[in-house]
Symmetry: C2
Subunit: 630 residues, 2 copies
Amino acid sequence: MSAPLIDKYRKMATFDWRKLKAAVEGEEHVRLKAEVVAKMKSEPIFHRDYRVLSREEHREVVHQRWKKIVEWGLFKDPYSDLENFHALTETLEAYDQGTSARLFLHGNVFGAAVKSMGTERHKELVEKIENNEVCISIRDSAHSHSATHVVVYAQLHVDGKNEGLHGFVIQVRCPRSFQTLPGITIGDMGSKPGCWQGVENGWMEFKNHRAPLSALLNKGCDITPDGKYVTSFKSASEKQSVSLGTLSVGRLGIIAKGMMACTFASTIAIRYSVARRQFGPEKGVENEVPVLEYPLQQYRLFPYLSAAICIRIFQKTFVERFTEYMMRVMMGEKSEELSEFSKEVHALSSGAKPVATWLGVESLGEARKACGGHGFLHMSRLNTLRDDNDPSQTFEGENFMILQQTSNILLGKVRSLGSIDTPMSTMSFLNKNPSKFSSWSSNPVDDVLSAYRYLAYHLLQMTASDANKLKNSGKNAFEVRNEIQVHRAVNLSIAYTEHTMIDWVQKFLEDVEDSTVKNVLQKVLNLFSLFLLERHLATLYITGYASGGKFGEELREKLRLAVAEIKPESMALVDSIAPDDFILHSALGASDGRAYDHIMEEFRKYTNEQPRWVCDLAQFLQKRSQHAKL
Amino acid sequence: MSAPLIDKYRKMATFDWRKLKAAVEGEEHVRLKAEVVAKMKSEPIFHRDYRVLSREEHREVVHQRWKKIVEWGLFKDPYSDLENFHALTETLEAYDQGTSARLFLHGNVFGAAVKSMGTERHKELVEKIENNEVCISIRDSAHSHSATHVVVYAQLHVDGKNEGLHGFVIQVRCPRSFQTLPGITIGDMGSKPGCWQGVENGWMEFKNHRAPLSALLNKGCDITPDGKYVTSFKSASEKQSVSLGTLSVGRLGIIAKGMMACTFASTIAIRYSVARRQFGPEKGVENEVPVLEYPLQQYRLFPYLSAAICIRIFQKTFVERFTEYMMRVMMGEKSEELSEFSKEVHALSSGAKPVATWLGVESLGEARKACGGHGFLHMSRLNTLRDDNDPSQTFEGENFMILQQTSNILLGKVRSLGSIDTPMSTMSFLNKNPSKFSSWSSNPVDDVLSAYRYLAYHLLQMTASDANKLKNSGKNAFEVRNEIQVHRAVNLSIAYTEHTMIDWVQKFLEDVEDSTVKNVLQKVLNLFSLFLLERHLATLYITGYASGGKFGEELREKLRLAVAEIKPESMALVDSIAPDDFILHSALGASDGRAYDHIMEEFRKYTNEQPRWVCDLAQFLQKRSQHAKL
């Protein structure tokens, strides 16, 4: 039975959370996820408590869970059954990113690498990978205990000539005995925080190891029987335009990690903020109000609730566009437009991955603090989640590093301003010299988008102009690129990305049919867009979008108002995004709103413990006491 | 032997790091810390590796270390031997906050509570506490396994009348058998992240427990033999003016935690940034440059290096002022001026604790990301440190919560603007209506302080004016206080605090004699002050300090310049703040600059592990393979 207080908050909403969930996620997705959850609940291996596992225990349980999922046969090629793939991915990612990494990195990412870069001669291996008869890994994240094969990127030297980076697939262990092959040493990287303790990241050393020629992943290149290197790629850039796409697969998945982090943070902290009561207009415990009533608490938490929903919508749209792009690549298309598409996908994924993961990690930190001391307990899951999500900021390239991909592509467009035309139209707004702020419209999102257009346009001009100056002063390209990052290229990439995110969510809303759902989603987007823009307020002043204190004060006022408008909707919004309690696994965030009951239930498991060192302590105190009396 | 590269960076400095260390910390402090470190190195119980301990192992080792320190007799009353106390505190805090908490919370904080609120009848107990014959704890952080006595704050009801919150000291266990006394249940709170896993925070339940009257800590109040409540405090506010001081003891210690977090973050990340080389102006591994050369990397890390030094100087000054105040309290002074002093100490500690701990946690996050994937390994210590420091943000009241103490006190001064006179003079600048920005001076710190004065003054006026409006619209005091926090009272408290921090460090610099040291410390303060102010840029525009983009752009330019000026000094500055390698305990941050050697040395400990579940995996793969062939 739910706590009366949480139900009171649920009743404040103007909409039905199930309808909103269906509109945002799609009915089929919601249904399929529920099926996966039910399956997991029925298997004891997926049950867990709040105990911290050792490295050994952790990895064993992840192995057992991985085995169970493989046995179920749920995991299939994403392109053959996209809906099922997404339902499984999302559920596992929310359940435990470690288990999910083991499954998807093996089967999907590394398998896909062999499939996409390999040829007929790798067909048998691909089948074995897909059927889980071998365990494939990749050098940088070599699965130290379980890998039988690895994908390695290495410089290919033929006849003394370096032909550049190539992919290889190399068998490293016997899949029966699990002994490493001659010349190969594999080790683990030791302890890691959070769920990553359960993932056996390792290192690998090759010393005079001889692999057969078939190890070369030879799509588009090969070594002839007489030892000559041949390639069908006309240029390095043509080769790159294929691999750019591959990179975005991972980034799209990581954007979803950011979304999931915001989902957990806001679910746990907002539900707990209703159970937790502190102070009130009058003295006495009975007058204490739920901390969610405090405007500051709302200001700290609601933006991440809005982020959870908006990043989901953006990411889903992006996946659709990306799938369209991948289909064309797989069909073998080689057009100028597709190469432009590839570049745009790359620019956007390189910007959205940092924006989403920073927000995700930030949300978990804020949620922990907003929950006070109890947020710090392991059973809140907020700490573990922070550890789980922390490396999302350095996965596939440190965030600031990959932001450069976005700004580089945008800077490359400077000369075609006025006629930029990209397949997803995310850069078209740069064609028009945007106007300064004049007045607020009736729609905050339109206002925010106008401000972003100005911001991105001027940051692009300023960054390009700085780059020119540096170049003219004699700096080389490497120096120029490094010296335009701070306050310039970094902000440019972020502004471009956030503009696209907000724009796409706005477009999604246009097609929502149920007016109560549309209405509340508009409130969510208002908050999300004002929250993001407010962080650029100083730069808006610097670029001259507005002057005078009034603009900034009004922007903040609108932001405070947008926060306040979420309050009555907040609990139902949380219900619309929250994973099942079994997946959520947080004593503070359970859907029944009975946080303190769950906390005390857990606490009572540790009643009157007497660890062995207490004897030692008692003796020590007694010795001190005797000594004092002498 | 150090890596040649780190030595090259060391030689760039314009000063001798030992001289700077002595100037900032004091020669005696440096010497005493080295003594403590040497003592710890000589004891095997203080040696550690990079293994993650279980809850049980962790607590046992903390107990053993605590015992060793007690046996050494190093731990004494702070007021009888301040220098030794600080050297021990700082070394233990850097070594492991868990061990340090166990020692200081027992002996210092809880012992001090009994001493300060108790009377003659508690003398024997105080002696036992000081001699470590009993283990004292406090209800909120009850040491679940080891506490024999606890300090409890509870409502005192006498003859049906509630006389308010009072302190009690209650025996909860027999110090011989460690069995709980009748009516008392004690339990643990389960797992916690980082070093706090080693601290046995617990919960306690009293059911019909009868404690003797002597349990009441009866300084200034008592219950007469005929059961009447008497108090010598004339008013609640008089009583409070005593306890306000006690609260700041803890906060001062927590400010130092923020400083220590910045110290670790910048030491580890900056040293690693020299060992780690990536890309370069030309292709080829030999042309790769240390990542510290990247302006963005410098921009991300150097501000926290400057924070480590400036917070230390500020905190040290604050401790001196606070000690002066405490001496007067202990002498029994009861003047209007002392009560004003108490309030000012409270306002400043309530502001500085959030500012310092936020910076500390932020620095560890940034450092981890700036170290890339390897920063994520347990052996970097950055993750553990983040877990260790995370709760510093909610200790003694969640940061936003206690910031209200600062703004409340400042708001109380609004009516006396023009004649504010406090013992530490931290609020005097509010007396003068500050002028807007006109031009930059030759000293960035003066410019920053001017801007802060304007900011704090106007935020105070705006917050007070908002409060009035809300009051006039019929809101009660509780609602008013809550509704003026966002963008107003919060920023006010921070601006006041940061102004004081910068101001005090500037004053400290005036007395530094060695000109090379003074020169580099000025660079450090320039960076610290510009870094802090830049975060208020939007609010500076809103309050009307400046208009037009030029001011903001110039402020950012000065900030970038201040960052660049630190680069040649950075490695020597790190040496001046870095704890001994034994205390630092980071494979990435060792003083020899050989991060990769240390990492590989640790990695090799995990070579060719074959956990038992690998057999299970081999069988599983074989089964899949046989099944596929059928």
